[in-house]
């Protein structure tokens, strides 16, 4: 199986979640014997070509002239990606059976390559413009929305990371549900192991008599920060704890103001964005991780907490419901409900045997379902199905 991955980001270029996703997926596919060639945007200091454990990475000039808007840049960048991919395939430097496109950001390159080489193209939709913006309101948003629509209709099959996203893509992009396969995002189990100075690290965030309650996410409406502040007042009446809030967003000042107004400003620590390493240690050292989101396509935060063996308290929305089973792998609370959130957090913090039961169940579930190896195997089966249909059909050139 020879796969051409198209992605606008690949480490060291990390802008959002697509970069680590494509990285881990490619690495694990290669370990399973697939030949993976990634064509992606360049990054200062990163080589134009490198082979990482068998994965060929081609970094292409991502269009350096100024662009009038993000979409114009994306389209010019796609011209460069497509030209480079055309060259390396034509010259025989890379051989491909299948093209895998990650999101609308590589739509025109992926669709063009599909047709000029007559190879099947599949797409992963990581999120939708409708979901990101809570509606399609401007011509700009509509253009992006239509591009994603075009991509999934050109794709042989589409991958979504949760049942929730699959129904959203099916509804919003008018794609038959049976054209979509659900393969979850993965987590790297190795990244959450190894020795660290737990007491010393904790000291940077909490006093020794305080429990550490972790929130990770953009500080925007849909992540539920306001509910957290409301619940915090209730929680602090029965537990001595500190809330460590990682992330940034337009609600940051408002959330800080509300915390001080409620008299709990000293118990809330807004860290802003943190580097990956610190964040992983925080996941490991936290006593509980809360995810009070109102909208969540997948819920990677819950997954990372679970792999770090930290109990999670999540709201029952979107992809979170598919990751966490109440009373088994975590606590599921009512969305948009501070009382429910406070109840869940207090329960986990006060009942240690309950917390340990959740910890071990959650970790086991991650190993069983969300390890990258397992996800790569499922993806490989998905590719094989597509290739089988392609080989049997009449579109393949004779």
């Amino acid at each position: 199986m020879r796969v051409l991955m198209l992605s606008w980001e690949f480490p060291p270029r990390v802008i959002g979640g697509i970069s680590p996703h494509v990285y881990h997926l490619s690495m694990e596919l290669a370990k399973l014997g697939a030949e993976v060639c990634v064509v992606t945007c360049d990054f200062p200091g990163a080589p134009d070509f490198e082979a990482i454990d068998g994965v060929h990475v081609h970094r292409v000039d991502s269009y350096r002239s100024p662009a009038s808007d993000f979409a114009s840049w994306v389209l010019m960048m796609n011209v460069n990606l497509e030209m480079h991919a055309a060259e390396i395939v034509k010259s025989g430097r890379e051989k491909i059976d299948l093209i895998h496109a990650h999101d609308w950001l590589v739509a025109t390159a992926a669709i063009g390559l599909k047709h000029i080489f007559r190879k099947p193209m599949v797409a992963t939709i990581h999120s939708t413009e409708q979901g990101r913006r809570n509606g399609i309101n401007t011509d700009y948003q509509k253009m992006i929305h239509r591009t994603a629509d075009w991509l999934v209709h050109e794709a042989w099959r589409t991958i979504c990371c949760s049942d929730y996203m699959a129904s959203q893509v099916s509804y919003v992009l008018r794609l038959p549900r049976n054209n979509i396969d659900v393969i979850p995002n993965g987590v790297d189990l190795e990244e959450f192991t190894g020795y660290y100075d737990r007491a010393g690290f904790r000291n940077r965030f909490v006093r020794s008599d305080e429990k550490l309650i972790l929130f990770v996410g953009r500080l925007v409406y849909e992540k539920g920060g306001t509910i957290l502040i409301e619940a915090a007042q209730k929680i602090l009446r029965s537990v001595n704890a500190k809330f460590v809030v990682v992330g940034d967003g337009y609600l940051r000042d408002e959330l800080m103001r509300r915390a001080w107004d409620a008299g709990i400003g000293g118990k809330m620590y807004f860290t802003g964005f943190l580097d990956e390493k610190t964040l992983r240690l925080l996941y490991r050292t936290a006593d509980v991780c809360v995810v009070p989101s109102l909208y969540e396509p997948f819920g990677i935060v819950a997954l990372e907490a679970m792999v770090a063996r930290t109990p999670v308290v999540v709201s029952g929305v979107g992809g979170l419901l598919e990751i966490v089973e109440h009373d088994k792998t975590g606590v599921v609370i009512y969305p948009d409900n501070a009382d429910s959130l406070a109840w869940g957090v207090i329960k986990v913090l006060k009942d240690e045997s309950y917390a340990n039961w959740i910890r071990s169940n959650a970790y086991q579930k991650i190993v069983d379902v969300y390890g990258w190896r397992r996800i790569a195997k499922r993806t490989l089966r998905f590719y094989e199905r597509v290739l089988g249909e392609y080989e049997a059909g009449g579109w393949k050139p004779t």
Binding site: S65, S68, M83, G112, I116, T147
Partner: protein
């Protein structure tokens, strides 16, 4: 000899002078015994039309609507042009000897098909962004200039209609004069000259 001409306007869609000119070119080439396929845009009429003179016209719509500017519009349409030309290439019709890409709108499919399938392409250039926008430096103008430069560099030959345009292309894009051919539409032998250039391109 089978030529595919890419143009953003072709009758009945008439925006400027290119539509009528390409129509004239296509019919003269067809009369001379060449297989001619036109790949073009129309927002309502779509599909294949076989004209009485033997010219095939493939009309496609733009897969994405709306667009914020002409560049976005062109680049999603370019992918659709690639689809149609690939379909011609892989169909029983097969064999495309040369692609004639008209104006900057057609540069991306021309270049990519050349790189992917090895089909030589000619860039028929009518005017340059520097001239149309008086050297304006907005990101949009720069992007269009970049596409024109890509076409000038990647095409096996650039065809212009006057010696003055030839000198302008050479000056603004610093390319050697033998890469640019001037064929005046008023010359009695223009169709033969064009046919000769196509032939040269395929022989490279």
């Amino acid at each position: 000899m089978h030529v595919v001409i890419i143009t953003w306007e072709y009758p009945p869609r008439i925006v400027g002078d290119i539509a009528r000119h390409v129509e004239k070119v296509a019919s003269a080439l067809a009369d001379g015994g060449m297989d001619v396929s036109i790949v073009t845009f129309h927002d309502r009429i779509q599909g294949l039309e076989r004209q009485s003179n033997g010219v095939e016209v493939y009309r496609v719509g733009n897969p994405v609507e709306p667009h914020l500017n002409i560049l976005n519009w062109d680049l999603t349409l370019a992918t659709e042009f690639e689809r149609i030309i690939s379909d011609i290439y892989y169909s029983t019709r097969g064999e495309i000897d040369v692609i004639d890409a008209h104006e900057w709108f057609s540069v991306v499919p021309g270049t990519i098909l050349k790189k992917a399938l090895g089909i030589p392409f000619i860039y028929s250039l009518y005017s340059l962004e520097e001239q149309r926008s008086h050297y304006a430096d907005a990101p949009l103008n720069i992007a269009i200039r970049n596409l024109e430069h890509l076409g000038v560099c990647e095409a096996s030959k650039v065809i212009v209609k006057s010696d003055w345009m030839k000198s302008e292309v050479e000056r603004l894009h610093s390319i050697p004069g033998n890469r640019v051919a001037s064929i005046s539409p008023s010359s009695p032998t223009w169709a033969a000259e064009l046919g000769k250039l196509y032939k040269e391109a395929t022989e490279r």
